[in-house]
Symmetry: C2
Subunit: 457 residues, 2 copies
């Protein structure tokens, strides 16, 4: 541990400057207008892997954005850790709500504010720097491979093709990912599961053109009104999702599992205060942890239709749109849920409108084992660097490729995240605590050390 | 009649070129970025009134956009017609749906395509040119005053102040407006009523920031979902509006009035085909003419919230917005309906969101007499120029100032419109038939002729 702290202390400012340089790339994968920036980010990440000491670094082309690969094989007999991360970020809008520019990292009160500060540039870059540390201090105890993609925020569709085509190259003993969060620095935790995702876009068309709401209002179905009624019908009065068969495959937790989950520290008053809401909302009969971690959900991520500019326009629009995503839990599958949603949504559409549904992307839910060598190594690493045993939790987010790694590479994943729920991922003013960044760089080498030891090396 | 046809034939091309010049001004009153264009339009209209022979032409300043005034008093003893129109237009968006630029008038198939072609530049300009015709042919039979405003599409709030302050200047015997439509050129009609309007904007706020829909989804009220449920609740299963007291003041038509109204030519198959809808939508128990002309309605004119860009973003947004307008009928008043809406909308908002309601503007409904000298003059004028008696109809649109003229000036209005419902007012590809434009210029002098004659001159 001593050499780790010493190295981080000696290079403190540079480690931060390098992250800032990475955060200045507006690598928004969802918006084509950032294409050049996303490609430049991939080249930058590749160079940083080379600088840190990785061999065979490549920017692997795909049908979409490239995947950056690099490795250090010290001894074929020793275990291999495959580190996954993503260099792409969510769109920054609504841009006007940012206190400082999203792609000009700014430190306030010990926190780095920037899009991607936590998700996932700040977190994957800890692994690059921890690797550099192990190389520079000659303490790399096992083989390591890096796979950093650029399409995580848009569904990783090309990563799955890449993984299927490169099973030998990606051969490893475990996947290590830092793209999740802890309860707090006082309550370090390890996520043992992730929700899956089904993301669709719906378009409701009424009349074939925008109409004058005075001339036609009251005689023609308004697609906004109809879409609103359809969205309203997706949850019943107990906030259960009304799609027939939606819950059929859901595995209910055992009373013991529910108790363990609800034992994690949670202050509802604090939770409400942080969000400035007087009342929470959710599926009847479940706690907040259960609602976000172990129950499937349906959220409208965006809606638009008609006149949304300044002032007033008396239009009865031709179309209304919504982006809707569902979070899935074991044993739901995203193809099946996408089908159930589509069938149901079409079935509740009245004859006076036309409905088009376009699936965006999806991913399967996963539960990670807590009895594996890799999980134990993560426990020991966190216990040593934080001085506390990590609490096992269920994450509400989705990292679709975790299920992919299991299916295609036969690899389990360890989710060793250092973010916080309050980091405002996907929101304006996303941040990452400088403390967490250094803490991650210090903890990761310990994971490799214990993973090698527990593997008999 | 002969001298009229002859004059129009001789000046056919110039009459069209002048309208095109007027249509090229992007006089969008709702959007501040067109301010200079709107002001230039007012100056242009003033010059055209002078050129046509009007006296005392002024561009009257207001707190908003100016009102263009001009007059020709030939004999104080003779009756005076006050012509009202508006030189401002609706926003052109969604701009991408226009086949040709909205502010570059283009003729296709005998129709002029441009924003404002019908509403209201094409229609008020017929009066300017008909006035020129009467001046040039020395056939002006009565006094005439012009009041052309620039804020009709945003509620005419400054016009009401102007009218109250200039009752002497505006002294007249009748108001003549061409800002409505006919059933068709084969079925000329005269509107005998207009609906009022109450336009509001609502904002629903959930959490104080955009959230990651995976981390918080299922535990916090999504303002889009809540707004959708609130909008869905505004109409019951019979499409009656659910606001308590909403219909209390509504005057039901007599069976005779309903029969007369429904005698107007209407081809439901044609109506549906034109809009490309397989089924109509509306208040149970009423026909399409009744729904659009004699019943109050509530339409969502716009909705937005969350991520509406390209691709996917898994956000649980902080806010959702909608623009909602209600069309009113006698004896509803817009202040009362706005209050009823506000009270009800707030009352159905769950405790897990905050709701803000901002009234935009409104206007009172009106019914115009069909036994007045002015109405009879319009009937005779149309009968002569179209060779057919006009059918009385109820218009679904709103011209809030018609009620204002009655209240402040004690004047009744004649709605002699030459547009068509298919002119796509407020929509992309707004058009006005060249035939209707010339027909209006030919009919208007006849109105003045018969109005003077029936008044005893």
């Amino acid at each position: 541990m001593q050499h780790i702290k010493q190295y981080v202390d000696e290079h403190r400012q540079r480690l931060l400057d390098e992250l800032f340089a990475l955060l200045r790339f507006p690598s928004v994968s969802a918006d084509p207008k950032y294409k050049a920036d996303v490609l430049n980010t991939a080249d930058h990440v590749a160079q940083k892997l080379r600088d840190a000491g990785a061999d065979n670094v490549e920017v692997c082309q795909t049908a979409g954005y490239p995947i950056v690969y690099g490795e250090k094989i010290i001894d074929a007999a020793k275990p291999t850790v495959l580190v996954y991360g993503h260099y792409d970020v969510q769109p920054a809008d609504p841009i006007e709500l940012w206190h400082t520019p999203p792609f000009e990292p700014t430190v306030r009160d010990g926190k780095i504010y920037a899009r991607g500060a936590c998700d996932d540039k700040g977190q994957f870059y800890m692994h690059v720097k921890a690797f550099e540390l192990m190389m520079q201090t000659d303490t790399l105890p096992c083989n390591i491979k890096f796979m950093i993609e650029g399409e995580e925020e848009v569904g990783s569709s090309n990563l799955s093709i890449f993984v299927k085509a490169n099973k030998d190259k990606l051969k490893a003993d475990v996947v290590l990912i830092s793209d999740t969060s802890m309860i707090s620095m006082e309550h370090p935790s390890l996520e043992t599961g992730l929700r899956g995702l089904s993301y669709v876009e719906v378009e409701v068309t009424g009349p074939n053109r925008d109409l004058h709401s005075g001339v036609y209002g009251g005689a023609v179905a308004n697609p906004i009104t109809i879409l609103s009624k359809m969205i309203a019908a997706m949850h019943d009065e107990n906030n259960h999702i009304t799609i027939p068969g939606f819950y059929d495959e859901v595995i209910e937790l055992t009373p013991a599992e529910r108790t363990a989950l609800n034992n994690a520290p949670y202050d509802e008053a604090e939770y409400k205060k942080d969000l400035d809401v007087v009342e929470l909302w959710g599926e009847k009969g479940y706690s907040t942890f259960e609602r976000t971690g172990t129950r499937p959900t349906l959220e409208v991520n965006g809606i638009w239709g008609g006149y949304i500019g300044e002032g007033a326009k008396t239009v009865l629009p031709s179309k209304a749109h919504a982006k809707i995503s569902m979070r899935l839990v074991p044993n739901q599958t995203f193809e099946q849920i996408t089908q159930l949603f589509t069938k149901h949504f079409l079935s509740i559409a009245p004859a006076n409108v036309k409905v088009k549904i376009t699936p965006h992307h999806g991913g399967e839910p996963v539960v990670t084992p807590t009895d594996s060598i890799a999980y134990k190594a993560a426990q020991k690493a966190i216990a040593e660097s934080f001085g506390k045993e990590p609490i096992p939790t269920r994450g509400g987010g989705s990292i679709p490729i975790v299920a992919l790694f299991e299916a295609e590479l036969g690899l389990k994943t360890v989710l060793m995240g250092f973010g916080l729920d309050s980091d405002a991922l996907h929101s304006p003013n996303e941040k990452y605590d400088i403390f967490n960044y250094y803490k991650g760089i210090e903890t990761i080498p310990l994971f490799h050390k214990y993973f090698a030891e527990l593997s008999g090396f």
